[in-house]
């Protein structure tokens, strides 16, 4: 059995995934360039439909640019120390003859890169929050993007500050994997003996 499939390693990976939370409060401490580079490395190794590598990753640390992008990003609840913007490269899309209005692989690739970055950030002790609610045209302008690069998704990152989640006593309980999973047929939440 290789190290990558040892039970201890599997437990570590699952524990990492289960303990990650969206972080909406950061300290003022900057995220190091080394950590940001590691996040883009994680994004690069995400699955990429057809090995096309349709996306670019724009790292932003400049406080003024961050502030301006936040002003057109209602989903960005706080001003972060850093962010990474996933951009769709329309020149690559044209070269690959992609039908952007119909090809869901574009979104799949954004998602896989995003998840790799969020899990890697958690492993590094960096808090992250995905931002999908922003004005594409506003963000493109604030970032000075050329027309062939479209901002699709933003990851804000920083050193997490503890945050207490206050909920009502009768608030719904967290969803479980079992609730979302069917075995063999819809409605069967547990596997039957084979």
């Amino acid at each position: 059995m290789s190290a990558a499939t040892s039970p201890a390693f599997v437990d570590q990976v699952l524990a990492l995934m289960k303990s990650r939370r969206v972080c909406r409060v950061f300290t003022d401490e900057p995220v190091s360039d080394e950590h940001l580079r590691t996040l883009t490395e994680a994004a690069r190794w995400a699955t990429s439909g057809g090995n096309r590598h349709l996306h670019k990753f724009l790292v932003v640390r400049d406080p003024e640019t961050l502030r301006r992008v936040r002003s057109v990003s209602p989903g960005m609840q706080v001003l972060p120390p850093a962010m990474i913007v996933i951009l769709t490269d329309l020149e690559v899309a044209a070269r690959e003859s992609l039908q952007m209005d119909h090809d869901h692989a574009n979104w799949m690739d954004v998602g896989t890169a995003a998840m790799n970055m969020m899990n890697m950030a958690h492993a590094l002790g960096i808090g992250t929050c995905p931002v999908t609610s922003f004005s594409r045209s506003g963000a493109a302008f604030m970032l000075g993007l050329p027309p062939h690069l479209i901002p699709e998704w933003i990851l804000i990152a920083g050193h997490p500050k503890s945050q207490e989640r206050v909920l009502r006593a009768d608030a719904p309980k967290p969803v479980r994997a079992r609730d979302l999973t069917y075995w063999e047929r819809v409605g069967q939440h547990e596997p039957q003996p084979r």
């Binding site: 002003s71 057109v72 990003s73 209602p74 989903g75 609840q77 609610s133 922003f134 004005s135 045209s137 506003g138 989640r165 206050v166 909920l167 009502r168 608030a171 719904p172």
Partner: protein, 119 residues
């Protein structure tokens, strides 16, 4: 030509803060076209929270205490949209009355300070 009276009370927003809020509101309007409808309520509440944050930076004499406490409540309960939808909707239904009560209190205070005692 406007015939409105000059504003009463201190200004509680700089031009830069006002434009930040404008950018937020126009961006929210754009993304409301594609997001779930109830997100629109969240954008409005979030804009209100940002407005209260800007107000607090100017320490409004008459309303600072109310704004500080209410912003805290808003920032806690707006998050319920993701974890406790019914609790969030209950908050939306109750919030206007809270603001209305503060408006009424401020108006009463203003009248008390503006009018000499008739007794």
């Amino acid at each position: 030509m406007s015939t409105s009276e000059p504003p009463i009370g201190p200004m509680v927003l700089t031009e830069e803060q006002a434009f930040d809020l404008l950018a937020f509101l126009f961006s929210s309007a754009e993304i409301c076209l594609v997001e779930p409808t109830y997100y629109g309520t969240f954008r409005l509440i979030d804009a209100a929270s940002r407005l209260m944050g800007y107000m607090l930076e100017h320490d409004p004499e008459r309303s600072a205490q109310f704004v500080r406490h209410f912003k805290e409540e808003v920032d806690t309960k707006k998050g319920w949209m993701m974890w406790d939808r019914e609790g969030y909707y209950d908050f939306l239904r109750s919030a206007p009355a809270v603001v209305a009560a503060e408006l009424k209190r401020m108006e009463a205070d203003r009248q008390l300070t503006a009018e000499p005692s008739k007794s």
